[in-house]
């Protein structure tokens, strides 16, 4: 038995756990962070985009030595059917700023760097250690954790669950439910290596500029999901993800979908000649506001993916993770300063602070969207209609423009009828509100 007691134990060393452990250590708390991976980042899979703002609040000078790939100056949105792509593209030289707003990163490298900062701040970080159990006292209050290493349990005033999407620890302790298949997406990703010059010429970039492509349409075969291509320095992250419930229902395979996306005539030329070096899969919480589990209790808090903090519409997650991690730490530090106990009542301030932040405001705004996006037509009928409308519009064939307009309008009505169009529009509008 060991008699070790910490002010806080943080379970997990992803963006949420790191933000939390860093903030706690900076405020002088005795922190232990446990990570099951071989090193922080070894288990983490993400496209990945880093949003500067959330990290700047933790490490203002992160640009000096963080492993960043490219800053994003261009965003493309693709709506695809099997042969065509209708795209929206926004590119601005304003994004070539002194302190860029978004970067592509490689998570294994980034998380390692982040963790070094956490350790430098004074937190004790131990890897290759899986927390197997939250230890509770007779009143259900969490008083520590047990790990897969011998030597008893480690005590702490509060345990922060930054354990990721599965939420297994919390669920095992009966503090929350595991996420429903409808609220979790399964995403697969490949790293395609290409020479730097090839990436720059193919994507029209210079220096450290980068492009992000998000794609949706018939590539997911009617399932709710999106695909992406992100530019790194010498590689492209290419992936696709759909709801787990959809995979279960359709029997589609994630790699099957990815092959389909990669062989699409709009994607293939960008990937040509690349060498695939990594293949990874991960789950993404996409249930939004309504899927958020219980976030705090006596002696425990939930941050990051474990709390379903992902804005699926804007493809934001790591920034929500860092922000929730930071706010949790600030809450804990304040309670600690007052020498108050880590009761559910005292920790409830965490939830109140989240409600006032962009995290909850954004998730609340889109609370109906996950339901609206379950509409199959968004991933089949509409992309096809859009493509054929575009083609009708751009093809010069002697048909007069008025007739073309009529044909386009007619195609929409015959595909979905007036009631269908209206209901789709209403549910999307409600979701967006």
């Amino acid at each position: 038995m060991i008699e070790e007691r910490f002010d806080a134990i943080v379970v997990g060393a992803g963006p949420a756990g790191n933000a939390c452990a860093l903030t706690l250590a900076q405020r002088g708390l005795k922190v232990l962070q446990l990570e099951r991976g071989e090193y922080p980042g070894s288990k983490n899979v993400q496209g990945a985009i880093l949003y500067s703002d959330a990290l700047e609040q933790l490490i203002p000078d992160f640009r000096e030595d963080a492993p960043l790939e490219r800053h994003i100056i261009e965003q493309r949105l693709w709506m695809m059917d099997d042969r065509s792509t209708t795209a929206m593209q926004y590119r601005s030289d304003d994004f070539n700023e002194e302190k860029p707003n978004r970067y592509t990163i490689i998570r294994a490298q980034f998380d390692k760097w982040f963790s070094k900062r956490v350790q430098a701040a004074g937190a004790l970080v131990i890897c290759e250690t899986t927390v197997t159990e939250l230890v509770q006292d007779d009143n259900g209050r969490v008083i520590g954790v047990r790990t897969d290493r011998e030597g008893g349990f480690i005590k702490a005033d509060v345990v922060v669950l930054a354990e990721g999407v599965n939420g297994l620890l919390g669920a095992r302790a009966g503090l929350r439910e595991v996420p429903a298949p409808k609220t979790v997406a399964l995403a697969v990703k490949e790293m395609h290596f290409l020479p730097q010059e090839t990436i720059e010429s193919r994507f029209n970039l210079k220096g450290d500029e980068g492009v992000v492509i998000e794609a949706a349409g018939t590539i997911t075969n009617g399932m709710t999901g999106t695909a992406f291509i992100y530019t790194n320095k010498e590689s492209l992250a290419v992936g696709i993800g759909c709801l787990i419930s959809d995979f279960a229902e359709t029997g589609e395979t994630p790699y099957g979908l990815l092959e389909r996306f990669k062989s699409h005539p709009s994607a293939m030329p960008l990937l040509m000649g690349s060498e695939v070096k990594e293949y990874a899969a991960h789950m993404i919480p996409e249930g939004g506001y309504r899927a958020i589990p219980k976030l705090f209790g006596d002696g425990w808090l939930v941050v990051g993916d474990a709390g379903q903090f992902v804005n699926a519409v804007h493809r934001e997650g790591s920034n929500l993770a860092m922000t929730t991690g930071r706010i949790a730490a600030e809450t804990i530090a304040q309670i600690k300063t007052r020498r108050d106990p880590m009761t559910a009542e005292n920790l409830s301030v965490y939830k109140k602070k989240l409600d006032q932040s962009f995290v909850m405001k954004d998730l609340k705004k889109y609370k109906n969207l996950p339901h609206a996006l379950e509409n199959k037509h968004l991933f089949t009928t509409y992309p096809q209609l859009l493509s054929s409308a575009m083609q009708t519009w751009f093809r010069v064939d002697g048909v007069d423009k008025k007739a073309k307009e009529n044909a386009i309008v007619k195609s929409f009505f015959s595909a979905r009828r007036f009631t269908g169009l209206l209901s789709d529009a209403l549910s999307m509008a409600r979701g967006w509100r």
Binding site: I2, E4, E150, G151, E275
Partner: protein, 284 residues
């Protein structure tokens, strides 16, 4: 007893990539591990300490990042870690490395007591030379037992070690006086999983960092590139062997027919072989 284990941080060879264009080894982003052979040495050392008492000191030479490997060794249960790091060591071959490590072991002896045993793995997976262990033994004038599969007995009163050493065609049982240097074979044990107290202690432990001067090295011409007569002439990726297979349908054929069919396939791919065989056969 005091035991010193030398280990090396190496790139995980399972994950090394060869640059598709320049054909050079891409070390960037390749995870590092403790040389797998050294882990057998470390576990053996920990077992001896657990039986006979004492301390295990782990020693490595490398860049500052090699500290990660030492910390890992501490998590497994080592008592002390020394990192020999200095820009003068850059570019060391096996000669310069064994010079530097033996100097550090001398310093370790002065500081924490003379080790009864110095352990190394049989070789590293990135150099594969198996020269550094014997090199250290020679410089420290230690008896050396290489390719040891099992330690049969350590007698601290008599100051002897009895080991089984695998050699071509058999196993030798050898006995030597302590102190000695032992290089361990793979598969001799399984690395333990450190306990939670070990993990906590390792996370807090201060890794001792020594420069060349700290290790008492005065002759810098024996260090790093200057002290390394080995020159790497060329690094290249072997051309991958093409592995082609063909499925030949032999269903329902007699043995003779199968033989003839297979020979026909072989002759079709090896022009000249048939004529050559006929010529040889004609001689009989």
């Amino acid at each position: 007893m005091h035991i010193v284990v030398c280990l090396k941080q190496v790139p995980d060879s399972a994950q090394i990539r060869v640059h598709p264009v320049t054909n050079t080894i891409m070390r960037q982003g390749v995870p590092t591990i403790i040389n797998p052979y050294d882990l057998f040495a470390l576990e053996q050392a920990l077992q001896l300490r657990d039986t006979h008492g004492g301390e295990v000191t782990v020693l490595t030479m490398g860049p500052p990042m090699a500290e990660d490997s030492l910390r890992k060794a501490l998590t497994f249960g080592a008592d002390r870690a020394v990192l020999l790091t200095d820009r003068f060591f850059a570019g060391s071959d096996t000669l310069a490395t064994s010079f530097a490590l033996s100097s550090a072991i001398k310093k370790i002896s002065e500081t924490w007591g003379t080790p009864e045993i110095v352990f190394t793995g049989k070789q590293t997976i990135d150099g594969d030379t198996a020269q550094v262990g014997p090199g250290i033994a020679r410089r420290l004038d230690l008896n050396q037992l290489t390719y040891v599969a099992r330690i049969a007995e350590i007698d601290l009163t008599e100051q002897t070690a009895t080991v089984e050493r695998r050699s071509e065609g058999g196993v030798q049982t050898l006995k030597t006086n302590l102190p000695c240097l032992i290089t361990m074979l793979e598969g001799t044990n399984t690395m333990r999983r450190g306990s939670m107290p070990d993990a906590l202690r390792a996370a807090r432990a201060e890794v001792v960092k020594w420069t060349a001067a700290d290790a008492g090295i005065t002759d810098l011409t024996k260090c790093g590139l200057k002290g390394s007569p080995t020159v790497v002439k060329r690094v290249f990726a072997p051309t991958p062997r093409s592995e082609r297979a063909q499925l030949i349908d032999l269903a329902g054929l007699s043995n003779d027919e199968i033989g003839e069919k297979l020979m026909a396939e072989i002759f079709a791919r090896q022009p000249g072989l048939e004529a050559e065989l006929e010529k040889t056969a004609a001689g009989y």
